[in-house]
């Protein structure tokens, strides 16, 4: 069009370019191909950067955390002196459980290192063994009172600092004042290790204990149970509600302003920051309805509200993918609209809905911020037994441990993250499997 309007302007330009177009194109080709290769390289670099971060993240977590699955333990010959444990000989369970086992451990250590004297040195020596050793002995004796009076050889957990030293997380080559383990303690530990009395054992406590202030005794079982209870509440509420809303909006609702509003609403809720749901939970469930703080019940409610939009959106997508011919065939055989949906369309859409639900649950399992708002960050040692008990969940446990100053909590945190990621991988794999197995291509 511009050519037609101004032929005079086009003419001189042609005249100013005596070389034919093909020559000019050829001349520019090297440059253009170089630009092409460069552009491609940008893309590859971008992908490598993203994947590099992924590798860095995983290697940093695994590198920090794998050692937490082992716990350095010390073999001690302990004399279970009857006069110290059960002076009256009643074998009363209460007496057995509360006897002074720490004293017995101290005695055994003194016997092991007879040369140690002085308050400070003795305290350091006794500090090598974790408090958990006392509980272990109490449990063993309570389970089998026949042990009293005998000398037994037991493996007791070392304290967190000794554990860190043996695992190499506390460097030996820095000045004594700069590390948490003194030279004397290193000498003792090396002596014990040389005799084969220090060994790294599989850390069962990590999987069976609740939280603890002592890193070597802290475990994730309490948080795992809390997560499980919370997820049960979440799925029990969000799945039926989500499926019902998806079915209504996709199959029955007339297109009008009200349903438009609901749609906009759901899409927005899916993008609302999770912490806002926590504020809602705090204001409504805790302050208005007076539900208990820190309870899986409230956590589950908040997460259910948060995952609801995800489930609705996935459910609607699953329903849309069922072809209309299915509905029409059902109508043709005399089914009512409700029957057509509930007997034919919904079963076919179910795998897709379940996949969406599992992905929503995986997100809820990793969510932390809203649970902080409703008080699930408390330090809770006991394993929760019900939906109203105070509890914490895995990601919050990670957050709590990450805040603890002890060096040993770094590996615990990383290990807890590994467990959390394992759960997430299993859930996502289940979702992928479901999709692959039941996906129907119409």
């Amino acid at each position: 069009m511009s050519n037609a309007a101004s032929p005079a302007a086009a003419a001189p330009r042609l005249a100013a370019a005596p070389t034919p177009t093909s020559v000019r194109v050829k001349a520019s080709l090297t440059r253009r191909y170089r630009a092409e290769r460069r552009f491609r390289a940008y893309g590859i670099v971008a992908i490598l950067v993203a994947l590099g971060f992924l590798v860095l993240l995983f290697s940093s977590i695994i590198g920090n955390g794998y050692s937490a699955f082992w716990q350095a333990s010390l073999r001690l010959d302990i004399t279970l002196d009857a006069t110290a444990i059960d002076p009256d000989g009643t074998r009363d369970p209460d007496t057995l459980a509360t006897a002074d086992y720490a004293g017995l451990i101290r005695e055994a250590l003194s016997k092991r290192f007879p040369g140690v004297s002085g308050r400070d040195a003795r305290r350091k020596l006794f500090g090598l063994v974790s408090q958990g050793g006392t509980y272990d002995l109490a449990r063993m004796v309570s389970a089998d009172p026949g042990l009293i009076g005998r000398t037994i050889s037991v493996w007791l957990p070392l304290s967190d600092d000794a554990d860190m030293l043996i695992k190499g997380h506390i460097p030996r080559d820095v000045a004594e004042a700069e590390r948490r383990v003194s030279d004397q303690e290193i000498v003792w530990l090396d002596e014990l290790a040389a005799k084969g009395d220090v060994e790294k054992k599989f850390n069962v406590r990590f999987f069976t204990n609740g939280d603890s202030r002592e890193p070597e005794l802290a475990g994730i079982w309490g948080a795992t149970v809390g997560s499980l209870l919370t997820m049960l509440v979440t799925i029990a509420i969000s799945f039926p509600l989500g499926v019902a809303s998806a079915v209504y909006l996709e199959e029955f609702a007339r297109k009008n302003r009200w349903t438009d509003l609901i749609e906009v609403n759901i899409n927005n809720l899916a993008a609302v920051p999770s912490i806002v749901f926590g504020l809602l939970g705090l204001a409504v469930f805790l302050n208005f309805f007076g539900l208990p703080r820190s309870a899986p019940l409230v956590g589950g409610l908040v997460l259910a509200i948060m995952t609801l939009p995800t489930i609705i959106i996935a459910g609607r997508a699953a329903l849309t993918s069922v072809p209309p011919s299915i509905r029409e065939a059902a109508y043709g055989l005399g089914a009512s609209p409700v029957q057509a949906v509930f007997h034919h369309v919904l079963p076919l859409a179910m795998p897709g809905m379940l996949t969406g639900a599992i992905i929503g649950m995986a997100r809820a399992l990793g969510e932390t911020a809203p649970l902080l708002m409703i008080g699930m960050v408390a330090f809770i040692v006991d394993i929760p037994h019900g939906f109203r008990d105070p509890a914490t969940v895995l990601p919050v446990q990670v957050y709590l441990w990450a805040d603890s100053p002890e060096r040993a909590f770094v590996e615990k945190t990383s290990a807890a993250i590994m467990v959390l990621l394992a759960f997430l991988i299993v859930m996502n794999a289940a979702a992928v499997y479901l999709r692959k197995k039941f996906e129907v291509r119409w």
Partner: protein
């Protein structure tokens, strides 16, 4: 747990109702079921609905209202001085009564009056529950009888049952609206209480944030400063750094995967990037605090920069990594949605592939990409755990990414975690911040979703 027993009984009655209704329908239908209006199972469901729904509603209603009713009855019997007690004393008193009745530890000496009150409280709870149970069971039985007697061959049981089902579906679909209303109301309500103490002008335009109110009025800094500008600036700074990482990396990898990558590479890289999206944010936070921040600090001290160990840079970088898959998957979708004819037209005119992408595809996909970036910004603003763990608490008003800044979400968490009295300006400030956060992200989301939707319609 008597409530569980009650619910189990009600469920049992409902199931019984189903079978009774079904066999009753077969019986009144005469020979076979040919003369019935609906299938027998619908008559069963009809009776079950009459039996179960009203009774369970009563139980739920009671559970929701019980604490309020009992509290009102209890307060009425407390000694006359109750009228002069402050809310706090009253709450403490009621708490003690509840604990005493439940056999727990009480915070004061148990006098006879308290004991009477506790006994009365236990009595009220037991009587109330018993009355409710009787009423619920009676209603269930009544519903069962009524439903069963209503059955005759002309009863349009299927339509009735479907009607009930439809009501359930409609109620479920309005939950989303109720949640939004709940969020807005709860935030607004608490924020208004906050603005009664601190003027909105100071909150929105104040340059200083130090919410630490002292215990006594005569201590230093007893008033607290609630200017949100430093928090908003900090949030913007960290989100900006995150976008500087996420947009180039995400966009370029999406372009490569959509236009260049062979299918095998694509099918391997795409899930790998989605893993980044599935990692919990608390893990990113730990990574930022443990690996990224010390690394940046050491690196900075080597080249002579002083980088704070809670720098905005560390939090922003890690947040950027988190957002990469978000941007790349949206961009990938929009780029593949650009019609093939546009690519072919450009290639046919002799453009190289990268020229086609830069001059044709990106401009065509731009609205969708912008929408995706806006959604990512809204996510960055609302992201909590990374900044809680890696960014600082100090509200510095700065745009220097090497210094520590704090964000809106960090402050909400620090203000609300731990035990606090609920109506101090400090805790209420969290709700005002939440309101700001909600509205900013809401506007971003609405704009982004509209842009993306418009774009989709354009090519469909």
């Amino acid at each position: 747990m008597p409530i569980a027993v009650l619910l189990a009984t009600l469920i049992g009655l409902t199931v019984a109702g189903y079978y009774m209704g079904r066999s009753r329908a077969v019986a009144v239908g005469g020979h076979g079921t040919r003369h019935l209006n609906s299938l027998p199972s619908y008559y069963g469901l009809y009776v079950a609905a009459w039996c179960g729904i009203p009774a369970v509603s009563i139980v739920v209603l009671w559970l929701a209202l019980e604490p309020e009713i009992i509290r009102a009855l209890l307060v009425a019997t407390l000694p006359d001085v109750a009228g002069t007690w402050s809310d706090g004393t009253m709450a403490l008193m009621l708490n003690d009564i509840r604990n005493l009745a439940g056999g727990n530890i009480v915070s004061r000496d148990v006098d006879p009056e308290l004991r009477t009150a506790a006994e009365y409280y236990a009595f009220l709870r037991n009587t109330g529950f018993a009355a409710m149970a009787v009423v619920a069971l009676a209603i269930a039985a009544g519903g069962l009888t009524y439903g069963r007697r209503a059955i005759h061959p002309d009863l349009r049981a299927r339509n009735r049952v479907e009607g009930v089902l439809m009501v359930f579906l409609i109620i479920s679909s309005t939950v989303a609206i109720l949640v939004t209303i709940g969020i807005v109301l709860s935030l607004l309500f608490e924020a208004i209480r906050f603005f009664q103490r601190v003027s909105p002008v100071e909150f929105l335009f104040g340059l200083e944030w130090s919410p630490q109110t002292a215990l006594r009025a005569d201590q230093v800094g007893s008033s607290g400063k609630f200017g949100s500008i430093p928090l908003l600036m900090g949030t913007a700074l960290i989100s900006f750094i995150a976008m500087c990482v996420a947009v180039p990396v995400g966009l370029l990898s999406a372009i490569y995967m959509a236009e260049y990558a062979p299918p095998r590479v694509r099918s391997a890289v795409k899930p790998a990037l989605e893993i980044l999206a599935g990692i919990p944010t608390v893990v990113y936070g730990f990574f930022a605090a443990l690996t990224m921040a010390p690394f940046l600090r050491d690196w900075g001290s080597q080249i002579g920069l002083s980088i704070s160990s809670e720098s905005a840079l560390a939090a922003g970088l890690v947040m950027g990594i988190m957002i990469i898959p978000f941007i790349s998957s949206i961009s990938d979708d929009v780029i593949t949605a650009v019609p093939q004819s546009m690519r072919e037209g450009s290639l046919g005119l002799g453009a190289t592939k990268s020229e086609t992408i830069r001059r044709v595809i990106i401009p065509a996909a731009l609205p969708g990409i912008v929408g995706g970036v806006l959604l990512a910004v809204s996510r960055a603003i609302g992201e909590t755990m990374i900044v809680v763990m890696a960014a600082g608490l100090a509200a510095n008003l700065t745009v220097n990414p090497l210094q520590a800044v704090t964000t809106v979400t960090v402050q909400i968490v620090t203000l609300l975690v731990g035990d606090q009295e609920f109506d101090s300006a400090k805790t209420l400030a969290a709700f005002a911040l939440g309101l700001v956060l909600f509205f900013v992200t809401l506007v971003l989301n609405i704009v982004a979703l509209t842009v993306v939707k418009k774009y989709r319609e354009q090519y469909e």
